[in-house]
């Protein structure tokens, strides 16, 4: 029968989209090596990876939200708010029980819980009240940003000195020479990739994003899964904050500014479809690294004018995506 025509396209050719974002990454690394011999130094690599961790952790959650056809613009201010709250509570706790590990644990618990709760609020309003995600999270973005400004009285909320010293190693320390943020990011990325690809939850996210009605007809608990993506994202924001606070020991109205755009950009550069239906966590990780590297590369050299940094950044982001398209459409 007509099997001849069929077989030839049965196995996809060497899977180009799979390697495409990696190509972009490799090109950037090549440029970095050419620009500065210190680029591949242990210190620089640690710096870049560790600072990618915040956006990276958030972007992992964002991958699920976007895959399921949602969006969350509030993550940046949510991070600021959670960080502010965490610091506030830790300072209060220090006063009453003195600095020590318990205070850190309280802080971590607060951050995770606040993140989870914030994600839950977003999720429940989107799924139950049926408010367009873009508008709802635009609203909560303003709300959280305001709240942290208010908590900080317009200024900066800072962790007490002793606590800061005690908590510092969570960002700056590590094991086997690998910094904690890098470890946490890597572990979460792997878990995220497994969840997306090898669990029913990940599958259901893609199905909902692809066609909500079909998912519902296939007895996928659409609302529950969608809610779960926001809760997951919120919790990951909490984890990101836990790694972030020891870095600067403070939070202010400018904390996490534009993180939402960066996270979304990373997700899309990574090949996840903005309209939902397909997502890949490892792509997001590559996207985050690409974005981080651009900033790093700009600091490695002198450019015409610092005013033009933004322009170069813009061009590289676009090129990264074009490269991806041309190496093999990101499906």
């Amino acid at each position: 029968m007509s099997t001849t025509t069929l077989q030839q396209t049965r196995r996809p050719r060497l899977n180009l989209p799979v390697i495409a974002p990696i190509v972009a990454l490799v090109v950037l690394i090549g440029i970095g090596m050419a620009l500065n011999p210190n680029f591949l130094s242990y210190a620089n690599i640690t710096n870049v990876l560790a600072r990618s961790a915040f956006i990276g952790i958030i972007a992992i959650g964002m991958t699920f939200v976007i895959t399921a056809g949602g969006l969350d613009l509030s993550v940046g201010s949510m991070a600021a708010f959670v960080a502010g709250l965490m610091i506030l509570v830790m300072n209060i706790a220090t006063e009453s029980m003195g600095p020590g590990l318990p205070v850190i644990l309280i802080g971590v618990a607060i951050a995770l819980f606040a993140g989870l709760a914030a994600g839950f609020i977003n999720g429940i309003l989107i799924t139950k009240a049926g408010i367009e995600a873009f508008i709802l999270t635009l609203g909560t973005m303003g709300i959280y940003r305001s709240l942290v400004t208010w908590l900080a009285d317009g200024g900066t909320l800072s962790l007490g000195y002793e606590m800061r010293e005690l908590y510092r190693p969570v960002y700056y320390g590590g094991i086997l020479g690998i910094a904690w943020p890098i470890i946490v990011f890597a572990v979460l990325a792997i878990l995220g990739e497994i969840t997306m690809r090898h669990t029913a939850f990940g599958r259901h996210c893609a199905a909902i994003g692809s066609n909500e009605k079909v998912a519902r007809y296939s007895s996928v608990a659409v609302l529950r899964v969608r809610l779960a993506t926001y809760v997951l994202l919120g919790t990951l924001v909490g984890i990101a904050v836990v790694m972030y606070v020891p870095r600067l020991g403070s939070a202010s109205a400018t904390t996490g500014l534009l993180w939402e755009l960066e996270a979304i950009a990373a997700v899309i550069i990574g090949g996840t479809l903005l309209k939902g239906g397909f997502g890949r966590v490892w792509g997001t990780v590559v996207g985050v690294l690409i974005l981080s590297l651009i900033g790093n590369l700009l600091n490695l050299t002198d450019f015409v004018s610092p005013y033009l940094n933004g322009a170069i950044q813009g061009v590289v982001i676009i090129l990264a995506v074009v490269l991806q398209r041309n190496t093999g459409a990101a499906r």
Binding site: M1, T5, H204, A207, N211, K213, V214, A215, G277
Partner: protein, 501 residues
């Protein structure tokens, strides 16, 4: 006779102010194949959705195992073993075939998905259905009939006590229909209750034990299939006697109007050539996946291609639909939902979309649009409960009629119709056949691509048959027979081109 497993008692259903079912009583018994037939828009799909928990009745009761039940949703019905295959495709296009088959009921090993088992079981199901689709292929990339087979596979993978199938064979060829029926037989023997709709009355006669006729939301009669003939069924559905299904054939002239030379679409169509004469109805036959749709789309400028297309002596550039349409060529897609209609838009917006420029510039004349819709509704007997409703809420057959009206709106000289009567009831089918004959008689030229053999034989004076992306041969006049077409389609008659390749 066994007791009914699932039954309806005095069911009424309204959408907004409009009642579409008026007191339906109905029962499904284990081990029985029950056919539900009726005109387009009679309420068959609605009845089925109520049975399977997708819709709540406005009045009346659903009885399961003799006890009244109110499904909280389709999941609950599914848990009870009530499985439905929808008339409209119900697959997530971004997901793979196996992912769709197991969607919502994934197989797991511990926490993680058992990809291997799911793929393997999918492969087994598809093999059982004689479907060649790759379980790992993305659904958006497989053909329409393959999608239908995947839907059937999905339903078969569930443990069904009641299997409800809404026009499963509309997009299938006879061969696949046979495969499906074999599965139905097997399930019947296992004691599954089967409800089934089709506009192909021959099939109903063949497979069903009992046939119930629905007209305008009311059950008009229910008989053992053995007691009624196809003609009885048709009469009961339409409410009048049906004369001959096919009008007399129109013989085309000798003047070629459309000439396609050496059309190749990489991977699917190879060096296909055909000529269409003025006033002729040309059929294209072939098995599913033989490349008929691709050939037609390539000619219509919807796909990249190599080779030349000449319309009325004028070359049509590849990949330019608008040019082809302006030159007088129209193509009616087989993929009604994906490529034919905007499901969230109204009838009017869909009807005039390809021809908006002719409805006034710069401003669209709403009145003329409404007039065009009036005409379409009358000409094609489109049954829409509400004029301003979204097309997605129309019954399947009525969507098809609207699509036909939309395609013919540009008043084309050459019309390529891919599966013209998919999902259309027998009464309207007859009207469409008459229409095609009339168009040909007016001097228009028509290509009909159809998987329904009788349709090709009844309409076309000449039939080109495709096999594996090539033109396998051509039949004309008395040589247009079922046997002839099948032999060519199966690649058994090594014809000129096939032999040369």
């Amino acid at each position: 006779m066994r007791d009914p497993i699932l039954a309806l008692d005095g069911i009424a259903k309204s959408f907004g102010p409009i009642e579409v079912l008026h007191g339906v009583d109905f029962a499904l018994r284990p081990g029985e194949v029950h056919a539900l037939i009726g005109e387009n828009g009679a309420g068959k799909s609605t009845t089925m959705k109520i049975l399977a928990g997708y819709l709540d009745p406005t009045a009346g009761q659903v009885l399961f195992d003799g006890k009244p039940i109110r499904f909280a949703g389709s999941d609950q019905a599914e848990d009870l073993g009530i499985i439905m295959i929808h008339q409209e495709f119900n697959l997530a296009e971004h997901l793979n075939v196996d992912q769709n088959v197991f969607l919502g009921r994934e197989l797991k090993r511990g926490f993680l998905l058992d990809h291997k088992a799911m793929r393997q079981q999918t492969q087994e199901l598809l093999t059982r259905l004689d479907c060649r689709a790759d379980p790992g292929a993305q659904v958006s990339r497989i053909s329409v009939p393959d999608k239908q087979m995947v839907e059937i596979a999905k339903a078969l993978s569930r443990k069904a006590r009641v299997l409800i199938m809404d026009e499963p064979t509309a997009v299938l060829t006879e061969k696949e229909t046979d495969v499906l029926f074999a599965q139905i037989e097997r399930l019947r023997a296992e004691g599954v209750a089967i409800l089934y709709t089709s506009h192909k009355l021959g099939e109903v006669k063949r497979i069903a034990d009992r046939v119930t006729v629905l007209r305008d939301g009311v059950m008009v009669r229910s008989d053992l299939t053995a007691d009624v003939t196809e003609d009885d069924m048709a009469t009961a559905m339409v409410g009048r006697e049906l004369s001959d299904l096919f009008p007399p054939k129109v013989m085309g002239g000798a003047e070629p109007i459309l000439e396609a030379q050496g059309i190749t679409v990489p991977g699917v169509v190879h060096d296909a050539s055909l000529t269409l004469h003025k006033g002729e109805v040309l059929g294209i036959g072939g098995l599913v996946g033989s490349g008929r749709t691709e050939l037609a789309e390539a000619i219509a400028g919807l796909r990249p291609r190599s080779g030349t297309v000449r319309l009325k002596g004028q070359d049509l550039p590849a990949g330019q639909v608008a040019r082809a349409m302006a030159a007088g060529l129209a193509y009616l897609t087989e993929d009604r939902k994906g490529a034919g209609l905007l499901l969230e838009k109204t009838l009017r917006e869909n009807l005039t979309l390809p021809m908006l420029e002719t409805f006034g510039r710069p401003l669209i004349d709403r009145k003329r649009e409404e007039a065009a819709l009036d005409r379409a509704i009358a000409d094609f007997a489109i049954k829409a409960p509400e004029r301003g409703m979204a097309v997605g809420d129309l019954s399947g057959g009525n969507q098809q009629k609207l699509l036909l009206a939309k395609t013919l709106l540009s008043d084309p000289d050459v019309i390529i119709i891919d599966e013209p009567t998919r999902g259309i009831d027998i009464g309207t089918k007859q009207q469409i056949y008459t229409l095609i004959a009339r168009l040909a008689a007016e001097g228009r030229s028509i290509i009909v691509i159809s998987s329904e053999m009788p349709e090709l034989i009844g309409l076309a004076s000449r039939v080109v048959v495709m096999h594996a992306g090539r033109i396998a041969g051509e039949l004309a006049g008395d040589a247009v027979t079922e046997r002839g077409i099948v032999r060519l389609a199966m690649g058994m008659d090594g014809h000129q081109k096939d032999g040369a390749a």
